[in-house]
Symmetry: C2
Subunit: 365 residues, 2 copies
DNA sequence: TTGAAAGCGCTAACAT
DNA sequence: ATGTTAGCGCTTTCAA
């Protein structure tokens, strides 16, 4: 089929081991003239050693597994992009990607396949509560790095952890609302608790507490992600917005779990006849570029995505050895608040939602 | 390291070929009792055959290469998702993904790596003009399917082609504007011509012609994609919007190359003090779910993404044999127009852009 | 400085 | 019905 090391050896008039030596940078073991002949043959035949065969021999394959809940979510696309380019540029690794839709069976199946493919390093972005299936993969020799979830305290896990400072991110967002004079605060999240979600809620509460607003700060728990199709989180945001519109008194400052939810929230608020930021202020967390394209522009807390991506790749590449004796989680400072137009002072007194028809979508053939 | 076929054979008290036979569905060649023993051993040892070794032997690896311009673009995320799930569910293939950033060198490097990894089937979503590097990959035994680009007429290519009916999509969008009474039409695109772009432009012109509006229908050629960072297309849209705002007379009905560009366009129009749809109407092409979250909701032509994804996977799996003698491109009807709020009748007379300050982004630490 | 040879884990003739 | 064996393309001792 394609040229093999044998062909090269034959063409260069040397043995395969010599060719293998030049392939593996052991050019010192041979005469310059031999090296030249081999290199010439490689070039002439346009030979590329089969990674397959190399792997089978060495047990190492330059492939990085990446597990994301959904590639359709712009945040994961963003992270995947950063992970890919760093892994490629610094380690020559390609990405073997898989979507899990937050389904444990799918996650496990993906791990099995990775193992079978000889992939030994994986980055997992998941919101699944427990990590047992990862541990078992680690047992089998995998290096796994998990995003946005801390190690279970006590149980020293061999899984690496990288995450943003979710607490601080939410606190920053909440303080921004407080600074604008909001006193009725809400945190909009989805059903189900994860480490990162609870950290954000804690940050939200902490900021409310500081401002003496704890009594009126509430957590709005939206629908489950499973119930919705694709735009999932945004849909939950939309649904939550409709709920907010009917509350009395209504919260005026809302921190969303993430930008996508915030975007859905804004759309829902609009549909319910409420105007952002006149009636309700919204701030997101993530820092998607899409936030800057919204109307109004979404104020959001920018997470250090690139830095986190690098840290994850580095950790995944370290190998099974190096995890610092005291494998503490790697946490990043939340970057900065990016101010746009979705936050303003709360309204003097609350208006009822305008008698605004729900917008309809027509479809024509 | 991990359990091998040898271990299973030993444990079951049979030879490796017997185990291999059960692995490959040749259970009929043995006694039920033997089969049972082998299966028991496999289960007990939690044995998964190494795809690596299988590949080396068979030359087939259940991996599908997918080349996209950028994973950050929601449209590609959407396509990747559909491709992945179909390939996984129907063929048990995983995705080896790569971003090219529309760079030929990166594309070629990716192909080389795929070859080295034993991957023989690739789907390419690219806007690069020529396909020569694909042809060479095909020469080496790859099955490649290219999205959104037709085969060069005459030169019968061995590369498969799948694309939406771009002409019809743009025509549909344009007619919608015409139906709303617009007479000054524009098509907003990016620099550089590709097959799909020119098909859209043709569709745009065709609709204008039908309506006798050809004289005032113009193509607005935005910046190059290379100049921008990540949100690329949206940024081009934004820049184009600023240009539109200063035109006199100004077009009132705009068809955007795609949804992302339309979203950027709407943001830019807003920044320039123009209101959509009161001053300018916009319609996109793609049908991203994000279009429904915009404010105003973006009217767009929904492309049959899932169907196209399936067709591409099917074609990629067919193997090198089947390409129908007259390998014609596979084209899909554009689905439907999804009406939202970004289109209205044109204004009676044009207002100058409001003295509206550009919105600013502040960043605080 | 170079080559011979033994596998890596599996498949598929070919034997028995 | 089951086992033996020769590779797939490469890496890596170990010899020459």
């Amino acid at each position: 089929m394609s040229t093999t090391i044998q062909d090269v050896a034959r063409k260069a008039g040397v043995s395969v081991s010599t060719v293998s030596n030049v392939l593996n940078g052991r050019a010192d073991r041979m005469r310059a003239e031999t090296l030249a002949r081999v290199e010439a043959a490689i070039a002439a035949l346009n030979f590329r050693p089969s990674k397959l065969a190399q792997q089978l021999k060495t047990g190492q394959t330059p492939l990085l597994g990446l597990l994301v809940p959904s590639m359709t979510n712009p945040m994961y696309g963003y992270m995947a992009r950063e992970i890919e380019s760093y892994a490629q540029e610094h380690f020559g690794f390609r990405l073997l990607i898989g979507s899990t839709y937050r389904d444990r069976a799918k996650e496990s199946a993906f791990f099995e396949d990775l193992l079978a493919h000889g992939v030994r390093r994986v980055i997992v972005i998941s919101s699944l509560a427990d990590e047992r299936h990862f541990e078992s993969a680690v047992e089998q020799g995998m290096v796994v790095v998990s995003y946005d979830r801390g190690a279970t305290p006590g149980k020293r896990s061999r899984v690496g952890h990288v995450m943003p400072d979710n607490f601080e991110a939410a606190r920053l967002a909440t303080r921004h609302l407080v600074a604008h004079g909001h006193t009725r605060l809400a945190f909009a999240t989805v059903a189900g608790m994860t480490m990162s979600r609870s950290a954000k809620i804690d940050g939200f509460h902490a900021a409310a507490e500081e401002a003496g607003l704890r009594a009126t700060a509430e957590v709005l728990d939206g629908g489950s992600l499973d119930e919705y199709g694709d735009a999932v989180i945004a849909e939950v945001g939309r649904a939550t917005a409709h709920r907010i519109a009917t509350m009395a008194p209504r919260p005026t400052g809302i921190v969303a779990l993430n930008d996508l939810m915030a975007i859905g929230l804004m759309a829902g608020l609009r549909e319910a006849g409420l105007e952002v930021p006149r009636d309700v202020s919204v701030v997101g967390i993530d820092g998607l570029y899409l936030a800057g394209l919204c109307n109004p522009g979404l104020t959001t807390v920018q997470l250090p995505v690139r830095e986190m991506a690098r840290a994850m790749v580095e950790r995944a590449m370290q190998g099974e050895h190096s995890p610092p004796a005291d494998e503490s989680d790697q946490v990043f400072a939340p970057a900065r608040l990016v101010e746009r137009e979705s936050v303003a002072a709360p309204p003097e007194r609350q208006r009822p939602p305008a008698a605004h028809p729900l917008r309809e979508e027509k479809t024509s053939p």
